[in-house]
Assembly symmetry: C2
Homo-oligomer: 319 residues x 2
């Protein structure tokens, strides 16, 4: 039997688990909703359940896996497996030994890493970034996360590198969900965009965004709702998406001016949905601010889709 490993992507709404073979091929997968109540131990149980299901699909016991990797939000310590301050998960303001608890439940070694960083590494090893040696992963979703691969290796800094969403694009600008001002995410994050849409709608601007949200029974302005609104040429949606693209292009250019990487991989819910459609405007905004503008980096849309996080997490095992 080939060496199999597990990967779990722990998101705010869903837990995606996968079992992956030595070539990076997914041979089993499963998904569980992320518990919205309770405490970190309940989340760990749901994660173990998802991985057991994925292992069943691959016809293997979890204890037979050579290891399991987890891509986690919050502050994930790769050395200890402890995850702290995962504030979008229930009762997870403090620290929880996620690696240790999962290892007990699954009967194999468990490694924990940052969700965005592992998704970046998945794209680097197996996805849209395969042909490059240095790249920035930009995950445009509820927030804007980032990951770095430099000279073929992950760059974590002191553990918190990659916060491209909190690079400043406008001093004294809009307030960001992080509490600071002028971050890229204050303009480009789905959450910030939704808040701005509410404000403008309350101020009397016309938009179908919230009607579409109700019609499709969504609890929030999902990337699909934004897409429908653009298809309907909704003026407010167009304005806010344009503003997001400006902020993304500006922040990415700043990052490239600093690092001069070969490529930028655009992922995340909004990134995957709009990457191809808005690639032209994004390149234009980026090139306005590139210091060496005659050879811009390659910009590619992430190619592993929803499974990128779990695949990337599984790569932690061999690190």
């Amino acid at each position: 039997m080939a060496e199999l490993r597990g990967g779990i992507d722990l998101g705010g709404t869903k837990i995606q688990a996968a079992v992956i073979d030595a070539d990076g091929k997914v041979v089993g997968e499963a998904r569980e909703p992320t518990p919205t109540k309770g405490e970190p131990g309940d989340v760990a149980k749901a994660m173990a359940k998802a991985l057991r299901e994925a292992a069943e699909g691959a016809d293997v016991e979890t204890s037979e896996l050579i290891g399991v990797g987890v891509g986690s939000p919050g502050d994930a310590d790769e050395k200890t497996g402890v995850v702290s301050s995962a504030r979008n998960l229930p009762g997870w303001e403090g620290s929880f030994p996620l690696g240790e608890k999962l290892s007990e439940a699954l009967g194999t070694e468990v490694k924990v890493g940052n969700d965005v960083q592992v998704a970046t590494e998945a794209e680097f090893h197996l996805g849209a970034g395969k042909e490059f040696q240095s790249l920035i992963g930009v995950f445009w979703g509820t927030g804007v996360g980032g990951g770095l691969v430099l000279d073929g290796k992950p760059w974590l800094g002191r553990g918190a590198a990659g916060e491209i969403g909190h690079m400043v694009v406008k001093r004294g600008g809009h307030k960001c969900p992080c509490g600071r001002r002028g971050c890229m995410e204050a303009y480009a994050g789905r959450k910030a965009m939704e808040e701005e849409a509410h404000r403008r709608h309350d101020d009397g601007e016309k938009t179908d965004l919230f009607k579409l949200m109700e019609k499709h029974e969504k609890p929030r302005l999902t990337s699909g709702i934004w897409e429908r609104a653009l298809d309907h040429e909704d003026k407010l949606a167009e304005d806010l998406i344009e503003r997001a693209i400006e902020a993304l292009g500006t922040g990415i250019a700043s990052a490239v001016n600093l690092l001069d990487v070969e490529a930028v991989i655009l992922g995340g819910g909004l990134g995957i949905r709009f990457g191809e459609r808005l690639m032209g405007p994004l390149m234009e905004e980026m090139c306005k601010h590139l210091f060496v503008d005659e050879r811009p980096p390659a910009v590619r849309v992430a190619s592993l889709g929803d499974l990128g996080g779990a695949i990337g997490a599984s790569l932690l095992v061999s690190r």
Copy 2:
């Protein structure tokens, strides 16, 4: 005899040469004005002259040096020794084989690198950055240049990394000497600050900056003139320095959010002159925008002073 190497820092106004022993100690040094007329060959001759003088001071022939490193402005290709687009040097819009020409003149191997990057490496190996494994060098002078050391090694990207001065701090903001808008350098570079001072003075704002410049017979607002103006509590000077510190703090925070390095080394004419005096406000501006603000990076003033560039250049020899 110990192994000696040469280093030349090629600046827009002066050429600084040094001969350095195996411990990084300067055993001979000389300085020449940079030719303001002629062509790249004339600059190379002045560089060779400066290094010969430095070698004389160290009682050695240039051909006995194990090699010579050059820190150059413009686009310096480490592999070929060719320097292109050094636009602040006479007749240097195109490409010139600086390494080859100097090697012929000096009778030893010559390596060419980026001036700011080698100065960063000098601080990393021998100066204010000795105790760190990852750092950003920020050289605050006529422009704002930057260099990177990550995990103990220089990071050059595709050859043009480190342009921290052209990270955007304000979308749609001031025009930068580079032609783009809202770069850090548009607010913090000495040249941009001088232009803004002229504009505001022409518009009727009171300032002693230009009187001080004339009194001290300077052709421009040097860092010394800015310091005197601050000592005199000149309102315009205070405003523009405050604006520069805001831009520096913002851009440095963006870089740290992306890279999470251990330290920031502040050099350059203005950086060395004002680093200690304005460290408080700089840290404050930086911390406003740091994503992980409970453990800011160490910020230190460059400690090798004027010779840092030449010392750093000499380190290219052993690379």
